[in-house]
């Protein structure tokens, strides 16, 4: 936890990007949607939440991985790092930290809308997918910039353009209930596969690439 705190501190003002998005941009966008809309505003809220929340899930993980992949001191980090101390574990910690922030946003949503918790579960899994994709691609390309671009491009394309594509992890225009989580289960499985693939790259290939 000490190391995670210092890694986040090293991000300086970039650390504050996800909280600004979660606590300022998303609530303001939802409020604007409520003000302008008529009738049931929940689909618009779900759209806004899925546009912003999963895409910023990989922000902290990718900036943390940057030290291990692109900094001049990465060799030293790998010499001192013990076998138990994996990057995968860091990804899971950061996902949990992000979800705690997202939870606060959803507590606010719960005051405004009914049935927000199925959306929360879907977004939790979408965020996990984005982190897993970032982790896997970072280790594959030994670079954190490419995964960041892939991350934002994927979200923009599949939320704004290809809404109903089978390649999309998002659930735009659907009502959120227990049945709507079928897609989330599938996305969760893909995320676990990406985590596993990334972990294998970390264990076998990355160390020898220094």
């Amino acid at each position: 936890m000490r190391r995670l705190y210092l890694e986040l501190k090293n991000q300086q003002f970039y650390y504050f990007v996800p909280p600004v998005v979660l606590f300022i941009v998303v609530p303001l966008a939802v409020l604007a949607a409520i003000k302008n809309g008529a009738g049931d505003n929940f689909p618009e809220c779900a759209f806004i939440a899925q546009l912003f929340i999963p895409s910023f899930a990989a922000w902290w993980p990718l900036l943390t991985l940057k030290e291990y992949l692109n900094s001049p001191g990465r060799e030293l980090l790998f010499v001192y790092k013990s076998g138990r101390d994996s990057l995968l574990l860091k990804m899971i910690f950061l996902w949990t930290l992000y979800l705690l922030h997202v939870l606060i946003v959803f507590i606010y949503f719960a005051y405004v809308f009914d049935y927000v918790w199925f959306l929360f579960i879907a977004i939790t899994i979408q965020s996990m997918f984005m982190i897993a994709l970032g982790y896997f691609l970072s280790l594959l390309f030994h670079n954190t910039f490419v995964p960041l671009i892939v991350n934002f491009s994927y979200t923009s394309i599949f939320v704004l353009v290809l809404l109903y594509s089978p390649l999309s992890i998002f659930q735009i225009g659907t009502s959120f209930n227990a049945g709507s989580l079928d897609k989330s289960t599938f996305v969760g499985v893909i995320a676990l596969i990406l985590f596993y693939g990334g972990y294998q790259l970390e264990k076998h290939l990355y160390k020898n690439s220094i």
Partner: protein, 282 residues
Amino acid sequence: MLTLKNLSKRFKSKEVLHSINLRLDTKVYGLLGANGAGKTTLMRCMAGLYEPQQGEILYNDEPLHKSKSFRQDLGYLPQAFGMFQELTLYEMMDYICSLKNIAKSKCAFEITQALTSVNLENKAGDRIKTLSGGMLRRAGIAQAILGGTKLILLDEPTAGLDPGERARFKNAVSELKKDRMILMSTHIVEDIDACCDSVIVIDSGNVLFYGSCEELRNIAIDKVYIVKSADSDSIDGDKFILKINELEGEIYHRVLARGKQDYQSEKPTLEDGYMCLVKGLA
């Protein structure tokens, strides 16, 4: 303390280290070799970063991956050092303490002691990105000695430093050498002469020499000559011109030659001994 047995390392089809055998104790060792000789690969194998294809490395008679004390005793300074640019020097040291599993209650003392050893105690609050190259190298040594490490590997620690910083660096190493095994890789012979008790010369992945500085120097006895440039061709047999100097309008060559010549031989330096070895004049 650290034993290398028949160590070989290959990258795809290129063998970088060939059957290296060494035994290192509590001394300061200099690892000398040209660029691409295999110094960094050897250091990385010793640090446990690379797994060799053949042979093994033992720390206190235990293989590295099985040794419980190896990671705690190891201090490592890679060629490139400078992570966490936005953290202060103290915070970076705190991070390394945590990586080395040093108890939090001991960290403040360890960090202060390590920074004092390299005269950086007044820079503890400065951000890493504001430190000069020399300060960064000394910060690198400070992190390497955190937690009372007994085995310190320094990969080209003086590369890119100005003369003042190099002198400060060498003083820091001299103060730290008690009860420690320090291995310092470099291609600067002067640094070895100033700090090291023993020298390992490596060339194309093979150990050419392992012994004291005096022994390396002695290799060039009766092989060093200073002759006028015009007389340089009169040196018989295999030779190598090490230096060209101008003195009172006359050009002189410092020549290394295999056989006895008709000129008065000079007292050899460590560099003469090293060059005799790598040029096949030993």
